[in-house]
Amino acid sequence: MALHIREVGYETASGATYPVRPDEVRAHLMILASGGTMDLAPSFGDEPLAGDSDYSLVLYSPEPPPGTATAADRVRNRLLELVSRANAYQIVGVSGDTIWTDGRTVEAQPAFALGSTVFYDTSNCNGNGRWIRGVNGEEECTNSVGMLYHELAHSYHNNPGGVAEVEAQAITDENDLREALGLVLRDPERIEGGCGCPSDDCCIVASVALGSPFAREIQALRRFRDHVVRSTEGGRAFFDALHREYYAFSVDVCRVMVLHPQARSNVEVWLVRPLADSLQILRACAAGGAELQSKIESHVLSGQQPAAPADLESLILELCEGRVRGDILETLDEGTAEVLRILSLWLPHSPHVVWGLIRPLTIRLKLAGYVGDGEKMTRVALEQFSSWMSQMPIDYVRDATSAENWGVTLDTLLDAVVTNESLRQSCAHALAAEKEQGTGP
């Protein structure tokens, strides 16, 4: 029986006492003992630890034993295993006025493990809450009990593996508690988290997609971006450039969308949803395969937005050139007109955004002209993909990598992204000139 709660504060050199938070720890363990249901668990309690008055001993003996059938059962079972082990684990609840050995605050690092002792912030980031990355790609709230359970998972496994592996294991365990509490699960491959919940998000796509039916699609694209494209040096450099351009104006667009619901709706229908479909079409082209035609047709059809202006393509192209026609602005609500003005101001100076986000939109619009002729639509899609790839703005990527690796950088990026062999060859051919010249189109 070996889970101990630190009850007594630490004496400091000046004779003062550093107070610890045993009651918060007790409350958090009680939530685990109830499997997240918040029901009292009669078999849960504690008593003074024999031989060490600084600690109390956690008692937990549910009958019957919980098993592992449900997430709540697994949480309770984990607690039972921890209190039943021969090894002793100490839990120390700390407050928000604590800093670790290197001066890091609990805001920057909410927990600290030392051998079998876990110190964790019970203040929930001084009352500001905390967020983690959900499997939906969004920032989801967590709390101190979630953090404690996560840290106990590390202690339970005591795995000496790499950070990614160890964290994925603890997050997978943490997800039992999140499921039991009815919370969105945490993405085991994303270790991000932070202080504040909700945090300020200033991404246009994230703002629009949050909670929407196509959020899953956006998340799939994010994963492809982060785990495939950005796994290469060239992909990272490209997205560094794209993000710099994008965040120059996305906050302004988000602010308009908050104030003007019609603008938010139009951004979703005209830009974000078709963009999700457009990128899925390009991804399908890059992957190839037997079902390519049906995938392309499906995304072209689902991307049809009857509420969008008939001349959306020309509107988008004009925005890229820094123009927006007065007769169009007159027909729009104030918020949407402001969004278009912002885009017309920034897109001409944002080649990576135009290539990566805007140009795919125009490809999908072009493909919409071939509805009913799937073969031709697929042929045109592949041609457009090849043409699109050849126009990738590569100046920054080239400058961000050493010159001698330049060709390798592009090849590696293509290898990661374009697994459709015939398309891979045509893309390589299209980019060959740029590689030799060392300049972008």
């Binding site: 630490y10 400091t12 050199a13 000046s14 003062a16 550093y18 006025d97 604590t98 800093i99 670790w100 050995t101 290197d102 001066g103 890091r104 605050t105 805001e107 920057a108 690092q109 909410p110 927990a111 600290f112 493990a113 030392l114 051998g115 002792t117 110190f119 905390r130 996560h150 840290e151 590390h154 950070v163 990614a164 160890v166 964290e167 491959e189 994303r190 270790i191 991000e192 988290g193 932070g194 202080c195 504040g196 945090s199 300020d200 200033c202 982060d226 785990h227 950005r230 796994s231 990272r236 993000h243 710099r244 994008y246 965040y247 120059a248 104006f249 996305s250 906050v251 302004d252």
Partner: protein
């Protein structure tokens, strides 16, 4: 460093000690023509008792540690304030009277009591960037990504002792 990042200025407009702790109000102005992001959360505190210097880090610069150590995992992302083109923001940096720092003496854990009112010289370190911090799962270790986010933004000031006139009221802004 891009020109945009150099176009951010910061100065302390108010600073004081009182019964609740130490307080600084920092005015940050974005003179560039684009939105920029400035670190605003308290990430690290460094106390130098001999120099009566407290360095408050609102970013993770100069802190690239071995992430193989167990204690280094679980780092959080820095929070940032979005600062529109040509706009300004006031950041509030408040620290309690007492802060407790963990120290390790072999396997023994100790805590040192830090009294913020004993620190008159304050160095505020933040980061200014063109994007929020964005974690790259397939990139270098998180600690290194955090360390490299943004260009440094530094403000140094002397905080009047408790009971003395507040900086910014009778003395004016301090660079």
């Amino acid at each position: 460093m891009s020109e945009a990042l150099e176009a951010v200025t910061a100065n302390a407009t108010r600073a004081w000690h009182d019964d609740t702790g130490m307080h600084v109000r920092l005015r940050i102005v974005n003179h560039s023509d684009r939105t920029l992001f400035v670190g605003r959360g308290k990430r690290r505190l460094q106390f130098d008792a001999d120099a009566s210097l407290l360095t408050v880090w609102l970013c993770d610069h100069e802190l690239e540690e071995s992430i193989g150590q167990r204690c280094a995992i679980g780092l959080t992302m820095p929070s940032a304030v979005a600062l529109g083109a040509g706009t300004e923001v006031e950041l509030s940096i408040d620290l309690p009277t007492k802060i407790f720092q963990m120290q390790l003496d072999g396997d023994q854990v100790k805590f040192i009591e830090r009294t913020t009112s004993e620190y008159r010289n304050i160095s505020l370190r933040s980061a200014v960037a063109e994007t929020p911090f964005y974690y790259s799962p397939r990139g270098e270790p998180l600690a290194q990504q955090l360390c490299r986010w943004g260009a440094p933004l530094k403000v140094e000031l002397a905080v009047p002792a408790k009971g003395e006139p507040q900086l910014g009221h009778s003395e004016g802004p301090c660079q």
